[in-house]
Subunit: 347 residues, 4 copies
């Protein structure tokens, strides 16, 4: 079985494992208050051109999301998000478990627009009964989105503007941020994000690290006491330096960016091949997640040797599936996948 | 200003106020453990033909809803509800504040169907990632719904069946239960509800009481320790007998039913008159809430002397509004409203 | 059975019931946004000499407490309180249910001191691991306390000072505020409270109203969006004017104060009589709650005709109990109690 | 600086790091549903002689504790624990953040007794107002405790019995379980725990793993849907096999037990040396945490080269501190510590 169902099925890039092994018997202070975390923080601040940013490391994405939102929201406030947002669908109600409603908006290609946010907030405050409804106080988006698409600078600037208008935090889930930045035509880089968002995280788990996400806090209100919230929500790793070591290594010598570029290059190769074969796509994704629409019969056969992730039924005989490349994907495996797809679609 | 915007703008039926005045200086044990509450409980059990039902009194509807759901759900479970459900829209996220997600389904005339619930649950458990999604564990519906419509016996039986299939509690918000039972063609009565639901409440606030809702618990799992939950969620009235007294009086001599019948008769008079005038309706409601679609110009003028509740825009020049009758509506006031509408629509 | 076990066993003072009856069929806007609530608000602001205070009405004390604290605290913050505080003992963990820990301090006569608060906060922030502990952010006290004692101006000023030092809200539960202000030697009045606390409530339920507590918000941070929190936590009464009417009447013509004075006068009569009989007290209370220590045998017999509230065992043969007077206590009933106690203690 | 302040300042035992490195590029299914987790589960079941146990892996201890308690408790229920319990003191109110009160009992040497639990529950249910108080539903203890002490079989059997009597879950925090089992005189082993507790966890973070805790669920009620709770509370590691790999390795060839024995042997060497020097101890600990009482002057000087953890002031000139050995402690470092202590105490 060759796995293309997700982008977190290998442990970590060898450089990460080596660094971890090398620090194995050194003594370190706990909870992220060590020199390695500080080194990684400095690296991130420099890459983001954000000298005042606070950086805190968390173990995983769900944890990062609900921790940030719990820090941002008062009890009666909620976060606006696409109906396909990870926090709306695939976190077992983790945000609700902290008491906050996820306020969903219809999505287009996994994205929401400034106009939608503006409309929602305008309607909220225009309603005489607005005290009877959850107050929107944050916007959650993902870059890349759950459907592999990316926001442009123009779109993010518009979201920032509407967030300022309605006093909303703009928070960006960067589980696949590297893959987004590696996409052709992506004009959003780290300094832009740091200027635009109130908080975002640089994903490690899906991007070459063993585990870990680096939360970048730009807004002072979110920085204050954030570590209390991390601890309370179970996200404060005792051996915090494990996270610092990984991000320090990942962001050294552009490793993070070259791993991302590798994954996206292979994804584009797959996309090109599928297009050539005449396959349609659920969405036009420029990143490492591809959502081809394939005949059910072909999928059944494909599944014998290649794992994919089922997305949704498209019509009576076809379904959309997700195929992911990652930092770890071997080109030979991808070529085998393409060959198999070619064989199956030719039938 | 004559008010038709809601059905809770008068205090209480004179008989309720008299009973309260009469018991003013009697000494009573607190927290609903008194003879008056017991008398009201006995009356409700008899009306429901449910000798084993537990009955607990709460002050208001939002409180009743989140208290019941907090008692019913474990942390990772949620309640299915129409996207127009009161708990989904107008309770400031009270259910989410107790940690539980409201899982919304598209509505038709304010209602959801057994087939929708079945489809949702089937999809949930069929998904390999179902542990990453909130588990459906309850169905919340309202009788009458937020749009004034009512469920039939057949519909409720189908919901009960699908709830049994997927291990869901069926909970019915009866804020306007009397108005539903008074509707022409309503075949759902209290004994049927008691045989069909796991819990429901008999609304008092909108039905002639000063305040108060009577929660009827049929399922033993929900009865257990329910009073702990009431106390924790702030719903245990120190002078609990105030609730017992009111329900005892309201359910004596069919007062509850005759007050409901009065409101529905007047609502039908309004509906008939509007129909005659050629007005369309957002939904065909047989109960005390009517949702006519009216020209914006007429609405602006109407609002000078009659209050209504704005519902939604229908097209460029027309909006749907809510007009409510209640136990307290005077026929002369309704006639004045009809006359004014006639004048405005004739223009 | 003549009841002295608590101070909320009668419904309401006749003037309250009359006012409610009189407004029974008037039409009112809902949710506390009506002229009667505004009138009561104006009255309270005037009595407090606090023209900028926000006043919101809630149905009961537990609700008032957790709603205020939920509005005041971020997720990782807690409230300091005496180990005997109502929120620590008798609210089924309502504060914890909103996610916040009650941080208890040892009490003396039901009270905590500024020095205790100072010590707690100093130790918290001095601890390297303070991020691993709940951050104190509010002080909760009751006036009168759960043991009937009262704070002096000097004590409250000291608490205010230490709250300013450590950035703590000072919140005062005034379920029995009238009885406190009626106590001999009480130098704390409403204007002083309004100058000293961030929020406090004027209790109605135990002080002559049918139900209801008037929350007085002095700190702007607590005023903001407070009504959202009320709604979310189930405390927004649909017919909000019922609360306004009651407080308007209660605070008119000094009714509130004269009812309180009545209760305290009778309590002092009881205290004097018990002292004369040689009884000891658990605590020296100047308010309507008295905690005599009585022989178990006498208590058993007393319980046949007079209800009391069991407090705690004192030694092998004696227990402390609570005897309450209230606005509704008839002097003849109190005299009967004293006579019975005299008979029993003479044995 | 040689660190003795805690037992998690080195990354992981070399065998763990090697295994992780070896599996680095293998493809694995996510979320703990892989062959390596299953192998570790089988190993744990065998060691526990509990073929029906469910085993789930979590990243850290705070997370393990609040996840288990969230799964075990209904909203109005709390967990009994020593006032020194980790959940009561050092988890930033994580349990309260899930809505549950930690009900603290006075401790002796970090432990609570069956008699205390019995007394608490008897008093709870005997109180007429028990619905106004949090219902005890679980007992939380640590083995070894936060003060290094251990429970005996007899003590745990008594706790089990009282838990059965009052319907309480018995949950054991095993962050330092290996160190407890390695203590001289400890008669509690894994099979005994599995027969006695409803759930416990085998700590990895402090016992040689990079990170991770293995939750062993014995009670069927706790097994049900536990993975939903893990996901919701942020504890489901995407690359779950990282945890399986570590526990599989740690529990192979008795590595876990020999690492624990090493730490305890060194701790006893330290204890013996300190006793010889005439030092007193805060508590008589047979495990890897030692709490000597030392002169403040000596501590100040000690701190230049050796880190320790400040515990509490004992008198004007002396404090208790914590000195920890661990699986990673080098005997030469311990000898250096002993030599330095000897030098300082001789002064």
């Amino acid at each position: 079985m060759i796995r293309f169902n997700c982008d977190y099925q290998e442990a970590a890039h060898p450089r990460i494992l080596e660094r971890l092994a090398r620090t194995g018997m050194e003594q370190m202070p706990g909870y992220g208050e060590d020199a390695m975390c500080d080194a990684a923080r400095a690296r991130i601040r420099a890459l983001c051109e954000a000298p005042d940013a606070d950086v805190q490391f968390l173990v995983g994405g769900t944890q990062a999301n609900f921790t940030l939102l719990a820090a941002a929201l008062r009890s009666y406030q909620g976060a606006l998000a696409a109906e396909t947002a990870h926090i709306a669908v695939h976190e077992t109600g983790a945000v609700e478990a902290t008491g906050h409603k996820v306020l969903t908006l219809p999505q287009t290609d996994g994205k929401i627009t400034a106009a939608q946010v503006d409309g929602y907030c305008a309607a909220h405050y225009a309603d005489e009964a607005h005290e009877h409804m959850v107050m929107p106080r944050a916007v959650y988006i993902s870059q890349a989105t759950e459907l592999g698409t990316i926001y442009t600078r123009a779109e993010l600037r518009a979201l920032r503007k509407v967030c300022d208008k309605w006093k909303l935090y703009l928070y960006i889930d960067g589980a696949r941020l590297g893959y987004a930045m590696a996409a052709e035509g992506c004009d959003v880089d780290l300094p832009f994000l740091a200027r635009t968002a109130d908080a975002f995280y640089i994903g490690g788990t899906k991007q070459g690290a063993l585990f870990g996400e680096a939360m970048v806090l730009l807004n002072d209100d979110l920085k204050r006491d954030f570590r209390y919230v991390i601890k309370q929500k179970g996200g404060m790793l005792a051996k915090g330096w494990l996270l610092g070591v990984q991000f320090d290594e990942l962001l050294r010598d552009e490793l993070y960016f070259s791993l991302s570029a590798h994954a996206v290059r292979l994804a584009m190769k797959l996309k090109g091949a599928l297009t050539e074969m005449g396959a349609a796509f659920l969405v036009d994704s420029p990143t490492n997640q591809q959502f081809p629409i394939l005949p059910d019969a072909a999928l059944a056969e494909l599944g014998r040797n290649f794992s994919y992730s089922y997305q949704c039924r498209v019509d009576e005989s076809r379904s959309a599936v997700r195929l992911c490349t990652s930092w770890a994907t071997r080109e030979a495996d991808l070529d085998a996948l393409i060959a198999e797809l070619r064989r199956l679609l030719r039938k």
